[in-house]
Symmetry: C2
Subunit: 217 residues, 2 copies
Amino acid sequence: MYEYNKNAVTTQALHRMPYYIQQLRILQNENIETVSAPRIAERLNLNEVQVRKDFAAVSSVKGKPKAGFSVSELLDNMEELLGYNNADEAVLVGTGSIAHAILAHEGFQNYGLKIVAAFDTNTDGIGSEINGIKILPSDKISNLCRRMQVHIGIITVPAQQAQVVCDQLVAGGVLAIWNFAPVHLSVPDYILVQNENLVASLAMLSKHLKQAMKTKI
Amino acid sequence: MYEYNKNAVTTQALHRMPYYIQQLRILQNENIETVSAPRIAERLNLNEVQVRKDFAAVSSVKGKPKAGFSVSELLDNMEELLGYNNADEAVLVGTGSIAHAILAHEGFQNYGLKIVAAFDTNTDGIGSEINGIKILPSDKISNLCRRMQVHIGIITVPAQQAQVVCDQLVAGGVLAIWNFAPVHLSVPDYILVQNENLVASLAMLSKHLKQAMKTKI
DNA sequence: TAGATTGTTAATCGATTAACAATC
DNA sequence: TAGATTGTTAATCGATTAACAATC
């Protein structure tokens, strides 16, 4: 009894959530109140059972045979699950073009991220501002993170500096790291690293393309 | 006989390649000629057997018991596999901060991507240049892709415009799409879409963090 | 009622990990 | 030789898909 880990949301399922949310919002805008798993599956090119299981795992209300699931309930539950409504505070390190892109992305705050400070390892840019956030010297990282109780660090510095910055963030009490540097970071077990390796993604795309063209010819 | 799909490189293995390459380059800079799977596994926090299998799958030369694998052979084979040496041509659509970041990323050309044209759906920016690439109006997409035989399209436009742009790219004969818009794109079966959904990644990070803090407290 | 849709149990698939003999 | 390391076969694990009874 009470083994209610039953319909846990897996990592893969979590990846699908933002796409469900996108589709559900479209339906909500059209004032459609319920939707079935097969319908969403069709729109997103997913398996029907998979969608149903995902919905069952997150929805606080059961689906109804024939009718489907409540659009608004699903949206609420998914947005809650992904933390869209209460933004985590984060610090960003690096001032290159990726850093600019992240800081410029007004949307992030709606998706659970509030950047409260930015740092640079390069003394040149320090003191300047990007999108209203002042750039601080990187030796202040640990201190500021600890003082402000920030739990997320975003790394956009070049590969060579990434590990050092990472260590500073960890020293400052950060628990999760969003890493845009194309390197593996060594961290203690309890730290979560999410790698966003654009070069790796690109390589995958290129490889797949090559394969596809080979089989086609 | 001749069922030589034996040690195929899986999608997951492909994802690990750039990290192997990073480690191998470090070794090469130190003039180290061979390396064992357990050593690399330790550095990257991976399973030893997994690394050995990955190496075996890509290496044109077998590993030697006791000695390990040739660093330079592995590097050559992996870079070849990922297409680092012969860049695919691509077009980019959108001129927001992510587009700027991609265009500014000098590194991409070394990793198999050469952006030959950029487009914008917004008439304002047309005619201007970003990093030496002139911005063209988006109604030229299909034509130019077809004429230049470009096979990769990069979408960085807002969500609402992504599907339209996608259709134009497909009409132009593009075979692979690197999609930075946070939406699902509908495409014919033979088209490869790789989604780079930063908002989704962020949500995952936030969710994991929440879970981690819950179990810790 | 008939039929679409749900929820659940079982089968399948793919990737990772374990076990172990072969080899330099 | 002894021992580290490879390569391969088998076991495990997790996620997806199929099958089907329950239900509105």
